[in-house]
């Protein structure tokens, strides 16, 4: 039953995840922490941290949630569900996209999606940095990490490492 629930909810998330995993973090947290109570707020941010620090697509946070909920089968179902519907769509659309290269609709869609994706990614960052009531220490770490990323073109693992050190010191 839990596996079916995972598959259903993550499958729907898959279809609205324009811009990838960062865009659906607000909905994922709403669902997993507040809606279903599968993870505590702390566990959620820890799963997110592990997903960021480990190599690989960051969508793998879905399999960490699935694993918490229903073990290895949960991990597999969660990953398949969050990638599957989007993958099917990509499979069908890739040819169409090529064919409509010069269509004004294609350009309109491209331009329409940009501000939506920016807003969703910004919301994700804000929500993860504000798990409960606003905490200046969390905002400081997030702000420094964002500033470092914009100022220097280095591997993001450096920012994550810096966040870990600041976390040990401040939190």
């Amino acid at each position: 039953m839990t596996l079916l629930e995972l598959a259903f909810h993550f499958g729907i998330l898959s279809l609205i995840s324009v811009g990838g995993m960062p865009s659906v973090m607000p909905e994922l947290q709403r669902l997993v922490v507040h809606g279903k109570g599968w993870l505590t707020p702390d566990e959620f941010i820890q799963a997110f941290a592990v997903g960021q620090a480990a190599p690989g697509p960051n969508i793998l946070i879905a399999s960490l949630i699935g694993w918490k909920v229903a073990g290895i089968p949960g991990a597999l179902v969660a990953l398949a569900a969050i990638c599957g519907p989007a993958a099917v769509l990509a499979w069908w659309v890739s040819e169409l996209w090529e064919r409509f290269k010069d269509s004004p609709w294609r350009r309109a869609i491209q331009r329409a999606i940009a501000p939506v994706v920016v807003a969703l990614i910004l919301s994700s960052g804000f929500i993860i940095a504000t798990p409960a009531s606003p905490d200046w220490r969390l905002w400081l770490i997030a702000g420094l990490s964002a500033a470092a990323m914009l100022a220097a073109n280095v591997n993001p693992l450096w920012m994550l490492a810096g966040g870990g050190i600041l976390g040990a010191w401040l939190l």
Binding site: P115, V118, L157
Partner: protein, 188 residues
């Protein structure tokens, strides 16, 4: 510029499914800190499966589709080279090792999670990850700051999603339709 012309001369798609699989396995295996740069290095610079321009075009498409960008790229490229079989093989190759590693890392972490200092470190890492999202949003948003309609859409979505905590299941479709209307009116 010069690099892309060189790359264009001698690109050749993978010859068989095994090569496709090991290529994506290799991308997943070493993609510390983000998959995209490693995908570029493996497919464009090392194995020369596709040109710089082709890579950029494919990623551009995948960023507009729902789903993980690089996961979609594995589907699209796999399809182009070997059809449905190619899509499945590329996707499985990409995910196989990171899947094992992320679960192993999380399992190890859970065994030590009762140390408060480790909790603090991991929370710090998570929040720094949130900072990277904010940085990404600013980077992507820079080209939009001169467009009032884009800023209005961003502000409205942010208020609905991050402050009011409404469901994205409503926000995304509505925001997209509004944005599409604005784009057709040439406001974006």
């Amino acid at each position: 510029m010069r690099q892309s012309t060189i790359a264009k001369m001698d690109v050749a798609p993978p010859k068989h499914l095994g090569e496709l699989f090991t290529g994506f396995l290799w991308i997943g295996a070493r993609s510390f800190g983000g998959v995209l740069p490693w995908a570029y290095r493996t497919m464009v610079e090392e194995r020369r499966w596709l040109s710089h321009a082709d890579f950029t075009e494919t990623i551009g498409l995948c960023q507009f589709l729902p789903g993980p960008n690089i996961g979609n790229a594995s589907i699209v490229l796999g399809k182009r080279w070997f059809g449905l079989k190619g899509s499945i093989v590329a996707f499985l190759g990409l995910m196989a090792l990171p899947f094992v590693w992320v679960l192993a890392l999380f399992a190890v972490y859970n065994d030590f999670a009762y140390y408060p200092w480790l909790n603090a470190v991991v929370n710090g890492v998570g929040v720094a990850g949130a900072g990277l999202f904010i940085g990404t949003a600013i980077k992507l948003g820079k080209v939009l700051v001169r467009k009032p309609a884009a800023l209005a859409i961003i502000a409205a979505c942010f208020l609905c999603a991050a402050v009011a905590r409404l469901s994205l299941l409503y926000i995304v479709p509505v925001a997209f339709i509004v944005a599409l209307y604005a784009a057709r009116k040439d406001w974006l």
